[in-house]
Structures are given as structure tokens and as C-alpha cells.
């Protein structure tokens, strides 16, 4: 199978702190669970891939292409989308507008065309709105009905869903999920994990899934990578990893 994403000695140095230290990671079309104790560099790893941070050293390859130096906006355009650990939707915008933002990179229309070619603008907008509503309906129909609500008024669990939908709407090949269950109660956690499984089945999208709940990881991840202090200390199936002594002492034991 073709390699989807590959990092070679990926490193970032925050004034002496190696938050990600020579990470070599490879993934195919799969759900990769990324675990590790707090501060082990999981979020930083996603920030590197999504172009928010620039690597101090090493390389990132996506679908055979070197993307180490690309900006965050280009990363989205080539098919990597993400969510954030703390929900980061635009609170002053409606559900639908947040979704439309997710489609920004897929839209062709130029700024002068929005002024001088309203026909094209409306045609494109129509297609985009349908697409947004369709992706929202992966989760549930209520979200579709709330399209004109401000995010302010939406409960956390639905904000999580909308954030995932906003990432999915541009049809990325890889979805980066930074603790999508953080702050949710067990029922809510279960429900969002079920949503994600359904989406994986439906679209075949690959995911990197950061999670601290081992129960969740065991049900959704095809393979698990364990980070500690910026380095990979173990990888393999959940069963293999959870038996690993180093992992137990670094993570499960603590």
C-alpha cells in the first residue's frame, strides 16, 4: 500500500526544549492513534504536520511530496485538515458560515468575480451550501436545521461535531483530530467516536487521532504510536503497545 504520510527525523526546538525530537513515523490509509502523557508533544506534532509550526529539522512527506516548508493554508489545500484540542470555531459566525470557511480552499471564484460575476458566485455558493449541509448530515439532521444559529448558542458536543464537519467538508485525505473527546462525558464520548467510525467507513478517510482514553483508542485505532518527551517510545497494535513496559511506566503507570 502507498505511504500516505511519512516524517523523517522530524524535530522542533522551542528554545532548548525538543517538543518533538527526531520522530520517524509512517502511515497508510488507516486510523492512527497518537497517545502519550501530557506535554509529550502530541499537539506539537499535529501543529508541525498542519503547517502551523515550522520544523527545526527533518522532513514531512505527504503522498510522496515534501511538504515540510508549506504554509498552513497550503496544507489544507493539498488535503490535510484538522481540529483543535480546545474547540476553535468562529463564535461570531453561524454554523453554516463556519462550514463554508472549511470550503475556502476548494472555491474557485476570484475576488473580482464576486463583484462582477454574481451568476458564477451564486452558482458556486449553491453547490457549496449543499455540500456543507450534506456533511453536517453525516452527524445528524438537527445540525442541518441549526445552520443559521450562531456557534455561541451551540452545546460543546455539537461544536465538536461541527469542527470535525468543517474539516471534512473539503474532502481531505487525512484528518488530524486533537483530542476530539476532551471535556465530554462518557455518553458524549461514545457518541462522537461512533460518528467518527461511521465517517471512516463511509469516506475511507485516514485519521491521526490523539486521545487519552485508552478505551476509545482500543476501539477506533488500527495502530497506535506512543510519544513521550517528544520521542516515539512504542508503536504497534493497541494490544502490543499496552503490554510494553516503557509505555506502562511512562503513561499508564503515571
Amino acid at each position: 500500500m502507498d505511504t500516505l504520510l511519512k516524517t523523517k527525523d522530524l524535530t522542533i526546538n522551542f528554545g532548548g526544549l525538543l517538543a518533538v525530537n527526531k520522530v520517524n513515523c509512517e502511515m497508510n490509509n488507516e486510523v492512527l492513534g497518537l497517545i502519550g502523557p501530557n506535554g509529550s508533544g502530541k499537539t506539537t506534532f499535529l501543529n508541525l504536520i498542519s503547517g502551523i509550526y515550522n520544523a527545526t529539522d527533518g522532513e514531512i512527506e505527504f503522498q510522496g511530496r515534501n511538504i515540510t516548508k508549506l504554509q498552513a493554508s497550503d496544507i489544507r489545500s493539498i488535503g490535510i485538515a484538522r481540529t483543535f484540542q480546545t474547540n476553535r470555531l468562529c463564535l461570531k459566525l453561524t454554523v453554516l458560515d463556519n462550514m463554508l470557511l472549511g470550503l475556502f480552499s476548494k472555491q474557485q471564484i476570484r475576488w473580482w468575480e464576486t463583484i462582477f460575476n454574481q451568476k458564477k458566485h451564486h452558482l458556486e455558493l449553491r453547490v457549496n451550501i449543499d455540500k456543507c449541509l450534506h456533511v453536517l448530515s453525516y452527524f445528524n439532521e438537527e445540525l442541518v436545521e441549526q445552520k443559521y444559529e450562531l456557534i455561541d448558542t451551540i452545546p460543546l458536543i455539537d461544536r465538536r461535531r461541527i469542527e470535525i464537519a468543517r474539516a471534512l467538508v473539503s474532502d481531505p485525505a487525512l484528518l488530524l483530530l486533537d483530542e476530539p473527546t476532551a471535556g465530554l462525558n462518557p455518553q458524549e464520548t461514545h457518541s462522537i467516536v461512533e460518528d467518527l467510525k461511521k465517517i471512516r467507513e463511509k469516506t475511507g478517510i485516514s485519521m491521526i487521532f490523539i486521545e487519552h482514553d485508552m478505551g476509545v483508542i482500543s476501539t477506533i485505532a488500527d495502530r497506535v504510536v506512543v510519544l513521550n518527551a517528544g520521542q516515539i517510545i512504542a508503536e504497534g497494535s493497541f494490544a502490543e503497545v499496552s503490554k510494553n513496559e516503557e509505555v506502562r511506566s511512562a503513561y499508564l503507570g503515571s
Binding site: I52, Q71, A72, L93, D97, Q107, I109, T114, I115, Y148
Partner: protein, 388 residues
């Protein structure tokens, strides 16, 4: 269609145009009467908006206009065309209208930064000045047509917008605002110290626009009614202003308007949605500057004399207030804010030295009562997708 929508459509057919006419009547009062009448109009308008928003009238009014768009616009345009003719007896009133229209254009351009992107630019008057000086220089020094001057102003301000936009790429919030204050100050100093640009004496003798071989400074005659030349400029200004409002509204509903809002809330989120921050910020600055440039060109060829005091820091503050008072990221609101503040500013002349003080007091009172501005930003709805 539901009952409610039919109702909105039927009642709106009369109410919306009537509202337009009442609005023009109120504006006529505000312009022709004394300061207290003007303030009374502002107070009543603010009270209506606050009360109306609580009771849902404002939303109903918006819907009525939307459902009866064509007739409302037709009545509005007709009223707009007749308005200056009704005021023809006093050229000072007409002058206020020209100036209001010109400031509204600059404020609309400024709104792309303050309202849409949340970046407070303290240099709109400098950009307005660059447009005015470019247009004036092209026609005074090179003897070219003022229309060519306007085209030159558009080109130069678009370029300057990109140049001024660069600080916005590196700085945010307070730091960005400081940079724009510096830009504003440098502009005035530079012009005052450059003899070629008239220095402290300004540029006199700027030619007027002419259309179909007729100078816009020529008095008109309509069925025996004497029309002061200001009316020509009112029509020119209003025509361009309406075009710019349409441009602003189209950008607002486009993916670019949305992207600017996203940049305001969270640049990292915006970038991860595929929005190129550099391009979008420069777009906001250069389009905004072009608006100011067009306004500057009209201003120069209308007043026939320009000097740096027309484009100083105070003017920038007034322009910012127009956006804040009118309503951020709402082109119609911004225009309303510009018109009201221009009228108030003119009426405050009776206070001479205390003019700025009174001006500030009025602004503070209005903004305390209604912090979001008179007509704040509305959530985007897209026709064809039924609202619940």
C-alpha cells in the same frame, strides 16, 4: 409560502417604501434645521433601533425590505434623486450632502479593515489624501482630465494599500494600530515638507470634473428651477457611493468577506481552513484604499483646493467613528454613520473651539447606549435555503 411570509410581503409593499420616505424626511430635518433637531433625529433613530430590536421590529423591517426589494429600491433611488432638488435653495445644505457622500466612501473602505478584519487602521485620512493629491497633481501639473486623475488615484492608492498592508502581516492589534498612526503622521509631514506637493500652502486651482463637455461647476436649470452646481457633484458622489456599497455588500457575502471575519476571530484557524492570510490582508487594505482614493479624487476636484489639514489625524479619527457608530461590517450602517456624523460635525461649527469636545461627548453617549453601532453586522443568510 407561509402566512407570515405572505403577510410580510403584502404589508411590506407599503411599509418599506413609507419607511424610506420617512427616513428622507428625517434626514431633511437633520440637515436643514439646527443642531438640536439633528440630535433629536439621532436620538429618535437610536431609540427606535434599540426598542425595535428588542421587540423584533428591526428583523421584521429587514424582511419586509428583502421581500419587496425592487419597489423599496425604486422608491429609495427616486427619493435620492429628488432630495437635492428639494434642498436646492441652500447650497450649504447641498455641500453637506456632497461631503457626507465622500466620507461615506472612505468609511466603507475603512470598514474592510476595522469591521471585517478587526484591525484598527488609523490612517484612512492619509489614504484619502493620497487619492486627493494624486488626482490633483495629475490634473494641475500635467493638465490631464480630472477623470484621468481619478484613475491615477485608484492605481496609486491600490499600490499604497499593498505597501501599508505589509505592516498588518507582521503586527496585530495595538502594534498594528501604532504603525498606522505613524503612517498617518508621516504622510502629513511629508506633504507639508514637499514644495512640489504645495507644502504648507496646499494645492489651489484644481479643475472641476466635466461630463459630456459640461463642467460640473456649472449651474443647472431644470424646468426653470435654478440648480446650484453642488447638485452635479451630489449625483456623481451618490452614483459612485451606491456602486461602492454594492461592491462592499458583494464582498461581504463572498468567501472573502467570510475569510476576513475568520481572520478577525482567529488567524490560525483561518489559515488551517486554507485562507492565505497575506493575500487576504493585502486585499482588504488595497480595496479599502481604492475606496478612499476615489473619494479623495472627488474631494479634490470638488473643493478645488486641498491642504494637509483636510487629511490629518483628526480626520482619521472621525472616519473611524463613522464606522463604529454606523455599525461594523454592515455597509448600509457604515454609510448611515458617515452621513449622520458629517451632518452633526457641520452643525457643531456653532461651537467653534469646543467643536471636537462636543463631538466626542455625542459619540460617547451614543456608543454607551448602543455599543454595537446603529446598524450592526447581520448574520449572513443565503437566499434559497429556507430559514427555520
Amino acid at each position: 409560502m407561509t402566512d407570515r411570509q405572505t403577510h410580510l410581503q403584502n404589508t411590506g409593499k407599503f411599509v418599506a417604501p413609507l419607511g424610506v420616505l420617512i427616513f428622507f424626511a428625517a434626514m431633511a430635518l437633520a440637515i436643514t434645521m439646527n443642531l438640536w433637531t439633528t440630535l433629536a433625529v439621532v436620538v429618535v433613530l437610536t431609540a427606535l433601533l434599540i426598542f425595535g430590536e428588542k421587540r423584533g421590529f428591526v428583523e421584521t423591517a429587514y424582511k419586509m425590505v428583502e421581500k419587496n426589494y425592487k419597489i423599496t429600491v425604486a422608491v429609495f433611488v427616486a427619493a435620492l434623486l429628488l432630495f437635492p432638488i428639494a434642498l436646492r435653495g441652500n447650497s450649504y445644505f447641498l455641500h453637506i450632502l456632497v461631503i457626507a457622500g465622500i466620507y461615506a466612501m472612505v468609511a466603507l473602505g475603512l470598514n474592510f479593515q476595522i469591521g471585517s478584519m478587526g484591525q484598527v487602521n488609523f490612517a484612512p485620512a492619509a489614504m484619502f489624501g493620497i487619492g486627493a493629491y494624486t488626482s490633483a497633481m495629475v490634473s494641475v501639473h500635467y493638465g490631464a482630465s480630472p477623470w484621468l486623475g481619478m484613475i491615477a488615484a485608484v492605481i496609486v492608492t491600490a499600490g499604497m494599500g499593498v505597501v501599508f498592508g505589509f505592516p498588518a502581516l507582521k503586527t496585530r492589534g495595538f502594534y498594528f494600530s501604532l504603525v498606522t498612526i505613524a503612517v498617518q503622521t508621516i504622510f502629513v509631514l511629508l506633504v507639508v515638507n514637499t514644495d512640489w506637493l504645495g507644502g504648507p500652502n496646499g494645492i489651489p486651482g484644481i479643475p472641476a470634473f466635466s461630463l459630456f463637455g459640461r463642467s460640473l461647476k456649472q449651474t443647472g436649470n431644470l424646468f426653470g428651477m435654478l440648480l446650484p452646481y453642488q447638485i452635479n457633484y451630489i449625483y456623481l458622489t451618490f452614483f459612485l457611493l451606491i456602486l461602492l456599497i454594492i461592491v462592499a455588500r458583494r464582498l461581504y457575502t463572498s468567501r472573502f468577506g467570510l475569510a476576513w471575519n475568520a481572520i478577525e476571530e482567529d488567524e490560525i484557524v483561518a489559515a488551517t481552513q486554507g485562507i492565505n492570510l497575506t493575500k487576504l490582508k493585502l486585499l482588504s487594505f488595497s480595496i479599502g484604499s481604492v475606496f478612499a482614493g476615489i473619494a479623495g479624487s472627488i474631494y479634490a476636484h470638488y473643493t478645488s483646493f486641498i491642504g494637509t489639514e483636510d487629511f490629518d489625524f483628526n480626520k482619521s479619527l472621525i472616519l473611524i467613528c463613522m464606522v463604529l457608530l454606523g455599525g461594523m461590517d454592515n455597509p448600509v450602517g457604515v454609510t448611515l454613520g458617515a452621513v449622520l456624523l458629517t451632518v452633526i460635525d457641520e452643525k457643531l461649527r456653532v461651537f467653534a473651539d469646543y467643536r471636537m469636545l462636543m463631538y466626542s461627548v455625542i459619540l460617547i453617549v451614543v456608543l454607551v447606549v448602543r455599543a454595537q453601532g446603529l446598524l450592526p453586522k447581520r448574520n449572513r443568510t443565503y437566499p434559497g435555503t429556507e430559514e427555520g
